[in-house]
């Protein structure tokens, strides 16, 4: 994606430019707060305190970060293969079917069997939803950006239909499934009770470890395996990859399957960890946050985890902020998200022309 115009030291590329872009995004967001008539510094203070000033804040931060890590990794691996997967939102949503099907349909199974099965089902459903756009891109050249957007909408309609007509118990008004009773990802509060420690009530559950494992797994896959090398080669130059004996079509499909599977894991956190039932719109835009997270994390798993935590901080802090300052609603987070995507993604090279002479001089 990046076309270097002049060499810069690696730390400038990986560290300084993202930080400058992030700062710019936050400054513009600060201006919006000024327009609203509030003090940006005070708002920042409340935001930080709400997110990292208490154990409860941290719990929520990490819960959000878990979601964003999955969707961020999903976008990241697609980026490595040179693909833009905007369909994370739909893949997460459909993956909920996996949790619902195992949790409700196979409710008779003992949990040590049902829980892994439910997790695998989430990945399988997410991957299946990514497979069709991937297959169409690989074999028929249909642009994956457009097809994944369309698939988000098709997923939304499909899920409304399925939840109403298949999963909703007769006689219930609310559009949601029966409770998934026999399997759940244990929450930290629950674990604390087992150990005799009193922890605040937060949605944080053991899925957070799954997120860390997924990040490590993706790093290992991309930089330590043959398949990862092939994915990165196709992303860097699909034509060169052909001469190296790699089939880009096959790699596109595999990369998108992994991407959809990673996105699908978010349903584990949300359905099996928090909601315990299939509800409408449970993805809640996290699929799109994944785009911002992957861009900010430069598609590296470590970067993705860190920027997922930053967005977790923004979400949790932003919620607290909207309680303290009703004028600054939670929608402010969406503004910041948009600004981050704009400055980190579309305008990422804006600072480069100024930085190049600065750092070249020093080296000469």
């Amino acid at each position: 994606m990046a076309s270097p115009r002049g060499e810069l030291p690696a730390w400038v590329d990986v560290g300084l430019i993202p930080l400058l872009n992030l700062a710019l995004a936050l400054i513009v967001a600060g201006f919006v707060v000024v327009i609203i008539g509030e003090s940006p510094l005070e708002a920042l203070g409340i935001l930080l305190n709400g997110a990292i000033g208490s154990l409860k804040g941290w719990g929520y931060l990490l819960y959000y970060a878990t979601n964003f890590t999955f969707t961020g990794l999903a976008v990241a691996i697609a980026f490595h293969a040179g693909l833009f997967n905007i369909g994370g939102e739909g893949q997460v949503y459909i993956a909920g079917l996996g949790a619902g099907a195992v949790g409700i349909g196979l409710g008779f199974l003992p949990w040590p069997l049902a829980l892994p099965l439910a997790i695998l089902a989430c990945m399988a459903f997410g991957a299946a939803w990514a497979f069709i756009p991937a297959y169409l891109q690989a074999t028929r050249g249909s642009h994956i950006v457009i097809t994944t957007i369309m698939f988000n909408y098709i997923a939304a309609s499909t899920m409304v239909y399925i939840i109403i007509n298949v999963f909703r118990p007769a006689g219930r008004m609310a559009v949601e499934s029966r409770e998934i009773a026999n399997i759940a990802m244990p929450g930290f509060r629950q674990i604390g009770l087992w150990l005799g420690v009193k922890l605040p009530n937060t949605p944080l559950n053991v899925t957070v470890f799954l997120a860390i494992a997924a990040a490590w797994g993706l790093w290992y896959l991309l930089w330590r395996t043959r398949l990862g090398y092939e994915i990165r080669t196709v992303g860097a130059n699909a034509e060169a990859a052909i001469y190296a004996g790699i089939k880009p079509g096959r790699i596109i499909i595999i990369a998108m399957l992994i991407s959809g599977g990673l996105a699908g894991l978010m349903a584990v956190n949300e359905i099996l960890g928090v909601q315990h039932r299939l509800v409408l719109e449970f993805a809640g835009g996290a699929g799109f946050v994944g785009i911002a997270v992957a861009l900010m994390g430069r598609s590296h798993p470590v970067g993705v985890v860190l920027s997922a935590m930053l967005f977790g901080l923004l979400y949790q802090g932003g919620t607290e902020l909207s309680f303290a300052k009703p004028a600054i609603t939670r929608d402010m987070i969406v503004v910041i998200q948009g600004l981050v995507i704009l400055f980190m993604g579309a305008l990422e090279q804006a600072f480069r022309p100024w930085l190049v002479p600065l750092f070249l001089k020093r080296e000469a």
Binding site: M150, T158, D331, Q337, G338
Partner: protein, 321 residues
């Protein structure tokens, strides 16, 4: 109601629902024909709708509403233009950013200014573009066939007629004017245009501004003509349906009109089909709602016809290559 009265009614509501699609679809057409991919149509529609409702309320005038919708939408289009043309950034990413910015800002500012959960206060008829009434047509209502046609054609707002007029205008401008021909050339082969000594950036910026204007019109139609104010997520995916229509139309103006009317008709039919049974089988409303997206995917897969986008679309222009 009996069927004979139902058909013109459905057709009339199809037209009303397709107007924002026509504006957004043509907006996308201008941008993409010049080589700038725009998935931020949705955001610009939403921003235009919010600006229109706000200004129409403040000034109690639909014209001021329209004016501000155009300004705001063009401003967002220029951000996209700056990122895609001058900075040679990723156009898809920039479009995603525009969509988020519009959705977030409309709610944050709307909540601050009006305190009604992101809505704008309801507009009185004087502050809206109301359906136009043609005095002569009322007399024709009871004439068998002509009566139907007046129900379909008459009774739309000024902006709806503007939308329909924009289609031949776009077709003519792209096919017959010097600007339009150069614009299409820039979308297919920018190097050739550059060799002829014509500024690619300036051509593309002009295309992007037209995109902004058309999205502003579409947004204004949503907020101050079809509805009496702005509500949360009012564009509701119309920008993406327009994008689907654009692909469906193979980036051609008159086919775009046809695709938008088809998708508008599906939308109108989905509303009517709610809970309606046909021969013992209930068609799920969700299936009708998803149909435009499914059709687009099928088309993209090359099963019905072939879609050929402008060759240089999405590729930033770099002189030395």
């Amino acid at each position: 109601m009996e069927t004979p009265a139902l058909i013109p009614e459905i057709l009339a509501s199809s037209i009303r629902l397709s107007v924002p699609l026509i504006f957004a679809c043509l907006a996308g057409l201008w941008s993409e024909r010049s080589g700038v991919v725009d998935i931020g149509l949705e955001g610009k529609l939403l921003a235009g709708a919010f600006a229109a409702a706000t200004a129409a309320y403040v000034f109690q005038s639909p014209w001021m509403g329209l004016f501000f919708a155009l300004i705001v939408s063009v401003a967002m289009a220029l951000i996209h233009g700056y990122a895609s043309i001058s900075q040679r950034g990723n156009q898809v990413i920039s479009g995603v950013a525009i969509n988020m910015l519009a959705a977030g800002l409309a709610l944050v500012l709307g909540n601050r200014w009006f305190g009604e959960g992101g809505q704008t206060p309801p507009l009185p008829p004087e502050a809206r573009f109301m359906p136009l009434t043609f005095s002569g047509f009322a007399a024709l209502r009871d004439v068998p066939v002509v009566g139907w046609m007046t129900t379909v054609i008459a009774g739309h707002s000024l902006l709806a007629y503007v939308a329909f007029a924009t289609v031949p205008l776009t077709a003519w401008a792209l096919a017959r004017t010097r600007f339009g021909l150069r614009l299409r050339a820039v979308g297919e082969n920018p190097h050739a245009v550059d060799t002829a000594g014509i500024s690619i950036a300036w051509l593309r910026y002009r295309a992007v501004i037209i995109t902004g204007l058309l999205c502003g019109l579409g947004g204004a139609y949503l907020a101050i003509s079809q509805s009496a104010g702005f509500i949360k997520d009012m564009s509701a995916g119309k920008g993406f349906i327009a994008l689907a229509a654009l692909i469906f139309a193979n980036w051609r103006p008159f086919r775009a009109l046809g695709a938008c009317l088809l998708f508008g008709f599906l939308d109108a039919a989905a509303i009517r089909l709610q809970g309606m049974a046909m021969g013992g089988f209930t068609i799920p409303v969700q299936a009708v709602q998803a149909l435009p997206y499914v059709l687009t995917v099928v088309l993209l897969a090359g099963f019905i016809g072939k879609s050929i986008p402008p060759r240089a679309s999405g590729i930033p222009y770099v002189k030395d290559r």
